[in-house]
């Protein structure tokens, strides 16, 4: 029996038991949303475009947490740590070596690799040390907070890597935007927060979303949810649980690193407060309220919540944070599967109830 070509096998994994949304109606809807996203920036001003990119930047971190927590069952508070590590790494590399010859792109890859490496080391200690559950959360939270305190104390001039000063509480700034090298007289394309950057980030988002769908519906994803549901049984089916948890942790943390780099190049700064306790709460809010066990609900939830948060910060960020905290409590008590998820499942549940009432 000949195996189907790789591309067919991959595409068939876009749908599966681990993701909501299947059939031509779903994909048609998704295509419409994508088309709208492509056209939207042409219709509004540069500020809104830049702002939308700001929203998109965070989604990678949320998707990463969705993988680690929603699919893998491991509650990690470390996403903002890797966000910060990658952001600072990008800053250090580009402030030392500049933006020529497409270096910013290499710096992006290197920064994500650094975050991934740290995640691999930390993850090794956690998962191969059989640390799970609440202890995993506590250790990752502790790592994030200590990292923040460490970076906040690096104000003196002796704290530098090459010519890049870490700058303590004020953080690092002035690093170059992402720059795509272009041959010819005009030189490289500098991706300031405007149209070109928008399309690059949108493309990355689409790629990440689709790739993750394929991953979670593959045999890897099957084992991951098996581990979430019953780790003992997964072991007794011959799977090395630790390796799968480590893999999903590194992938999810690398995605957080991608968010970190994009954030840093968007605003051209990175500060320790990106790793503070309030910042660390936000990915948890987005993923929990959106619906952590599914990529699509996480994606939608994150964008809605970030938009909502930004709308509320007009009144003051404290109010926005109070609302976020309240949403978290309400979600856990009333709809632990996530608010967006509850909405998505509502038609099914109403249907079941009316079928039951009818009989």
């Amino acid at each position: 029996m000949k195996r189907r070509p790789l591309i067919v096998r991959l595409l068939s994994r876009l749908e599966g038991p681990q993701t909501l949304g299947r059939g031509w109606r779903f994909w048609a809807g998704a295509a419409i949303v994508l088309a709208a996203a492509v056209v939207y920036p042409l219709l509004t001003d540069s500020y809104t475009v830049g702002n939308t990119v700001y929203f998109f930047n965070w989604v990678f971190m949320a998707l990463g947490l969705c993988l680690i927590w929603g699919y893998g069952g491991a509650l990690s508070f470390g996403q903002t740590a890797f966000f910060g590590i990658a952001g600072y790494a990008y800053g250090v590399i580009t402030l030392n070596y500049g933006a020529d010859y497409g270096l910013t792109l290499w710096a992006t890859l290197a920064a994500i690799a650094v975050a991934g490496l740290v995640a691999a080391i930390l993850g090794y200690f956690l998962f191969f040390g059989r640390i799970s559950g609440v202890f995993l959360g506590i250790v990752t939270l502790a790592v994030t907070l200590v990292l923040e305190r460490f970076m906040a104390q690096t104000a003196g001039p002796e704290w530098h890597i090459g010519s890049a000063r870490l700058n303590g509480f004020n953080g690092m700034n002035g690093m170059p935007n992402l720059t795509i090298p272009w041959p010819g007289e005009d030189g490289s394309l500098v991706l300031a927060p405007d149209l070109p950057l928008y399309y690059v980030v949108l493309a990355l988002l689409v790629i990440a979303y689709l790739a993750l769908r394929i991953l979670v519906n593959s045999s890897f994803g099957n084992v991951l949810v098996a581990i979430r549901e019953n780790p003992q049984r997964a072991t007794m089916l011959g799977y090395d649980v630790r390796k799968y948890q480590l893999a999903s942790f590194v992938i999810g943390s690398a995605l957080a690193g991608l968010s970190g780099v994009l954030y840093t190049t968007w605003g051209q700064y990175i500060t320790p407060s990106s790793m503070g306790i309030t910042a660390a709460a936000l990915p948890i809010v987005w993923v929990a309220v959106g619906g952590r066990s599914d990529l699509t609900t996480t994606l939608l939830g994150t964008i809605l919540l970030i938009g909502g948060f930004q709308a509320l910060t007009i009144y003051g960020s404290q109010y926005a944070l109070v609302v976020m905290g309240a949403l978290l409590v309400v979600t856990v008590l009333l709809a632990p599967e996530g608010l967006i998820m509850a909405l998505a499942l509502l038609p099914q549940r109403l249907l079941k109830r009316s079928a039951r009432d009818a009989t």
Partner: protein, 244 residues
């Protein structure tokens, strides 16, 4: 002939409690061996030592002649040991089909994977429930699903921890038939059981554990006739272990 499974002077202490004491046990290929004994005799602990979930305080475990005492559980599974637990260890929130897929995707994929899943669903009489959440199955169906998952790995040694717990007499008998069929396919079975009708139906040999030690071994008739065995179950002289 090297025994399929062997333990030498296997000991396990938890703090001050000796749960497994000096167990020298060997299991030949093709046996249908039952492990019985009063509650607290250490039967489940013994299983966990074989599986690697517990590390022995001292002693060794041999499988196919090789020392596996320090091998991780998932590695032991990969060498051909499989287990069905007392409390159904299935993935309750996932569909029945997905449960089987996770078990089978180890050594199958694509077309043959789908085919084998279908075959297993048929064999287990669960085709109608394929897309339902496994948690919605009846208790007996859950047990069979788990046995199906455990056997789909085509193990050489199958450990069953109280496979007929909670089953009706008909279901119990059907399970016994299933065990005979598995043996015909080349599996060796070691089962912890309380239901003596089931033990009688399947066992080629029986071991009695008491306070973590091997108390008696032999055929089911020899064990049932042994007064000392009756004593440890009831504390007095009367009444051999009988039908549940």
């Amino acid at each position: 002939m090297t025994p399929l499974l062997e333990t030498r002077k296997l000991n396990k202490r938890f703090g001050g409690l000796q749960v497994t004491a000096d167990v020298d046990f060997s299991l030949e290929r093709g046996e249908l061996h039952c492990l019985i004994g009063p509650n607290g005799a250490g039967k489940s602990t013994f299983f966990r030592l074989i599986l690697g979930e517990y590390e022995p305080t001292s002693g060794q475990v041999f499988y196919e002649g090789r020392d596996i005492t320090t091998l991780e559980p998932h590695d032991r599974i990969r060498r051909g040991i499989s287990v069905k637990f007392q409390v159904p260890g299935i993935f309750k929130a996932l569909s029945v089909k997905q449960n089987l897929e996770i078990a089978l995707q180890h050594h199958l994929e694509g077309h043959s994977l789908r085919g084998e899943i279908g075959r297993q669903l048929d064999f287990l009489n669960l085709t109608a429930e394929a897309d339902q959440a496994a948690g919605n199955l009846s208790h007996g169906q859950k047990q069979w699903l788990e046995i199906g998952m455990a056997t789909s790995l085509k193990p050489k040694l199958l450990l069953l921890d109280e496979p007929t717990a909670g089953m009706s007499p008909e279901e119990t008998h059907a399970t016994g038939e299933m065990v005979h069929a598995l043996r015909a396919e080349g599996m060796t079975v070691l089962a912890v059981e309380h239901d003596m009708a089931f033990v009688r139906q399947i066992a080629t040999r029986v071991t009695v554990l008491h306070f973590g030690r091997i108390f008696a071994q032999g055929s089911i008739d020899e064990i049932m006739a042994d007064d000392r065995v009756a004593e440890i179950y009831l504390g007095q002289g009367h009444g051999a272990p009988h039908h549940a």
